[in-house]
Subunit: 596 residues, 2 copies
């Protein structure tokens, strides 16, 4: 098997760090306790391992292809998608009102990780549908909901997000696509959208594009952008499909990775105008788009964890099979599998620690989301919402940045074989590089972290979250095991470094924006590092308890070692990052432009 | 122009850090002063920019191809290679006795950087020829020298290194290729060699393979390996080419990068045995191969610098052209080129600082090599040799590891466009990944650093080199500029961290090999970081003097800022690395094998 879903680790996180049993007490989640989680995850594991994983390399070898405006997915993808729909996987987290299963994000995001580990190109399609569903649920009229949601939730139709234009990448103020109001209340949409993931394909009957455009006469900048539904095929009153709409795929990109996922250039309105339906109110498009983006940003963070896990598994397998050289400690008197070499261990432990740390963080983040949306107490919802919003840029930014390092290490473990495409690990290295870019680059996540999540309230939310770490430090010191004490030391140093930086950011964003934004990405990396390290520290405490109770010794021992490794090899970077941010800002922007 | 050679920076390094004028006083290098360096570099810049650079992307789009045992290089490569030969570039550093120009490595390595920036796939071919030339010069008989060297030095023929076999990658003890002595003093060579760079091609009339094999009855392990010359075409007494030898290219690899460089599987002896000529003595092959390897390792380090420079230039260009969003400091009231955004600056400065730091280190290393080989005083030669040997694993390991980060940042600066192959920057990301693998992975370099370069003499050489940094710190403090003082602070902390690690390595390699080798790569990264940072600190001092003298203000200002950036954003990582190595060793190898 090329991928084995880490069900045990996911359940450990849900049970001990994300409190799945507490979530099961929230209204609407009554059936979503540990047993449900276990059953769903085991089913998801089976499907992703057996159906999706074997197609991953196929998609790299024979990418989705374009001809005469039509995109044909890699052979096997259409059938796999039919199985995906059949299994009800698209609707896992969506409301039962529209045919979904209404499960918490805490469970759904683990299934998302599996899909992405198994086949990231494939999993992008449902990830984008999720965004479209969220936007319609939040801002769509009853008519739009009635027309589109059921088929999106079932997976019969898929969804897309259309933001980018050639001149407008991260800068949505520059969006030029336009929408002309029609007497019947619809709009005619015109423009070119690029980088549209699964913007055209043959896996579903219809594609529901969510498109940013300007209504004629709208204000300039981001305050004049509206959001429209533009279906590929018009939908008749009875729900059957009607005429082809005036949106056409004029080409797909030739990319470094995620090749099976077609990245479309979509042309709207070349034949009279694409029929579009306004979502919510005019000029509030950006706000609605952020609903999709925030869901997608969390989802992309999970993609980082997912590809890191897959790369880790492949590296482990290779390092157990490949025989080269004698161990340095003389423990084996002949050439041995390379996993016996300390540096191979160091690489594997680095991969493992990053992946487990970010997985734990994503699980805790999902749990906060579920509480923020379902807790009966408004104050509690608010606290969880603030926590979740602080975590989203970290989960997106840090988990994807770490996935670059992890996939690079996976190639490295393979030595020369890693560079040969047929080995398969190079694909992960190429695929992963999109993750730090799409749905907002790491710098865009860092802007969000600095601006909305830190400076806006003077760092209060950030500091309140960080102060919770002190309790974990105290518990570690109290437990007094050597690993716990060592982790406490690193965690304390890291937390203090983070507090310094939060104060620096909160105190200087207005007066010295260049200085603060010079360190925005390092701040994101520091905060992500501390948050993931904190979750592993919590995991260590749980594992010590479980070990004392004699539960699953091997797993718990490994968790403790992994947490210790994270602390000494990853969390340990925190003070250096603090120094770079707080003391090293000026030289970042000092060089004269023409000296570059 | 897609590449502009950094001639000014190279000449700055040669003049002020590598003491080219001192090298010009060494016997044999009388004409190799600053003026010669400048003239040669300007000529090299012209050739690489105009001839090699435009072919780089062509080679990625249309890799060298195999058919019926023959490899055809990417269109244009053969003609470019003819121009390379015509220009005498292959012989730049080789002895005038064999038609070379006899220039110092200090000059040659800068030209090598340019070739590799312009076209890494192309430049690999002469890099391997250099290795073959070195091996023959050192260990070849007069007859072998007479037969092969002149044509290798001119570039009429090219050379290869044949080490790897399917079961023997880093572990040469497992080499199985065999050589049977013949009555006429030649050998018949049999076996399969893989990963042979430019092992077959149509750019030169003949290919001179240097092949590791075991003479029948030789001892097992690395002590039974001999080195052979196996020409593709036999060479007649009069120097003309004779029959085709029994070495055949049965396939080439499908790789993630450096696609224009054919990576051959060579089959020796399937039709009766390939005629081989022993180099030096039987069973001393590994020793001779190390001559080639050491030259090649330095050369691969330069490749890391080269591809980092090319990626940096592309990112700078894009960031000046691409317009997105307003600057955070309000300095421009409209969307601006992204180079105005602090995080883009941070990425560009990171790329620049790494590249300039490693370039300075490579220049200083080359200068030590020249002194080690040409200085009239044996004691001085010995000191320089020790310095050079300590630097080789750092130049190879650190410069290539940093090139992964730099090429990744280059893609990142491009945003979504970076992931589209036609943009061209993805190629650098893919190409660079081989550099930390071939000619010995980073772990192999680190083993060399730990074993031969540190533990063997109890850390004496290492500490002697490191102690020289104190003088630089003192000079920085004396100069009292704010940048100098800030750099001194980081340099001191980094040096102290490195000394701690050297002592840890020297003191524990024998007793606790697992603990030491768990930190071997972090030690390499720390040492490389400190050495490159040291050179930039020296550069800062020079730049301050030059600035005071009114020389080239803009360049000197930029050098000072770059050195400061390196200190605060890269050198600052040193104490964390120390902690990981010295305090974090145990958990690296603690996890049970079956827990992976």
């Amino acid at each position: 098997m090329s991928y084995v879903a880490p069900v045990k680790d996911m359940l450990f996180n849900m049970q001990h760090l994300a409190n799945i049993d507490q979530i099961a007490q929230l209204p609407g989640f009554e059936d979503a306790g540990f047993d449900t989680a276990q059953a769903v995850l085991e089913e998801a594991a089976k499907f992703t391992q057996e159906v999706l994983a074997p197609l991953n390399w196929e998609g790299d070898k024979a990418p989705s292809s374009w001809a005469d405006g039509k995109v044909t997915a890699t052979a096997g993808f259409k059938e796999a998608f039919a199985q995906f729909v059949q299994g009800g996987w698209q609707g896992l987290q969506h409301p039962t009102d529209f045919g979904g299963q209404g499960l918490p994000k805490t469970i759904g995001s683990a299934c998302g990780e599996m899909q992405n580990s198994a086949n990231m190109s494939f999993a992008l399609c449902p990830l984008l549908s999720d965004g479209a569903i969220e936007a319609l649920l939040t801002a769509g009229s009853d008519e739009l909901k009635a027309t589109y949601l059921e088929n999106l939730v079932s997976g019969k139709w898929t969804g897309t997000m259309n933001l980018t234009e050639p001149q407008a990448g991260s800068d949505l103020a520059m969006v030029r696509s336009r929408a002309e109001p029609q007497p019947d209340g619809t709009y005619k949409v015109f423009g070119t959208k690029i980088f549209i993931t699964w913007g055209e394909h043959d896996m579903a009957e219809n594609i529901v594009h969510l498109v940013l455009a300007r209504v004629s006469g709208a204000p300039e900048g981001v305050k004049g952008i509206s959001l429209f539904v533009v279906p590929k095929f018009m939908v008749n009153k009875d729900g059957s499909l009607g005429a082809r709409n005036d949106v056409h795929c004029v080409s797909i990109e030739h990319k470094m990775g995620i090749k099976a996922s077609p990245t479309a250039v979509l042309q709207y309105g070349d034949h009279g105008g694409a029929v579009g339906y306004l979502v919510g109110q005019e000029n509030r498009g950006l706000e609605y788009m952020f609903i999709m983006m925030n869901a997608a940003r969390y989802g992309v963070g999970v993609q980082g964890i997912a590809i890191a896990e897959r790369a880790y598994q492949k590296a482990v397998q290779f390092s157990k099979d490949r025989v080269q050289s004698r161990p340095v400690d003389g423990s084996i008197a002949a050439s041995a599998p390379i996993i016996h070499h300390p540096d191979v261990r160091r690489m594997l432990m680095t991969m493992r620690a990053y992946t487990e740390g970010c997985r734990a963080l994503s699980s805790v983040g999902a749990s906060a989301y579920d509480n923020a949306h379902h807790h009966p107490d408004a104050e509690v919802r608010k606290t969880h919402q603030a926590f979740y919003e602080f975590m989203v840029p970290l989960i997106k930014g840090y988990s994807t940045e770490m996935s670059l390092e992890v996939t690079s290490l996976a190639v490295q473990v393979h030595g020369g074989m890693g560079f040969i495409e047929e080995t398969g690990v190079a694909q992960y290295y190429r695929d992963a590089k999109i993750l730090t870019i799409y749905e907002g680059t790491t710098a865009i996540q860092a802007n969000d972290l600095v601006g909305r999540k830190t400076a806006r309230d003077g760092g209060q939310t950030a500091k309140a979250i960080v102060s919770q770490i002190e309790a974990t430090e105290a518990a570690l010191l109290q437990s007094a095991s050597s690993h716990a004490v060592a982790v406490a030391k690193r965690l304390k140093a890291a937390r203090e470094a983070l507090v310094d930086v939060i104060e620096f950011v909160a105190g200087n964003t207005k007066a010295s924006p260049n200085a603060v934004f010079s360190g925005s990405v390092p701040y994101l990396m520091l905060a992500g590092n501390v948050m993931a390290g904190w979750q592993l520290a919590r995991a260590l405490l749980v594992a010590q308890e479980q070990l004392a109770a004699g539960v699953d010794n091997a797993f718990m021992q490994a968790k403790i070692t992994t947490a210790r490794f994270y602390a000494d090899h990853i969390l340990v970077k925190a003070p250096g990052l603090r120094d770079s941010i707080v003391e090293g800002a000026d030289c970042v922007t000092e060089l004269a432009l023409d000296a570059f």
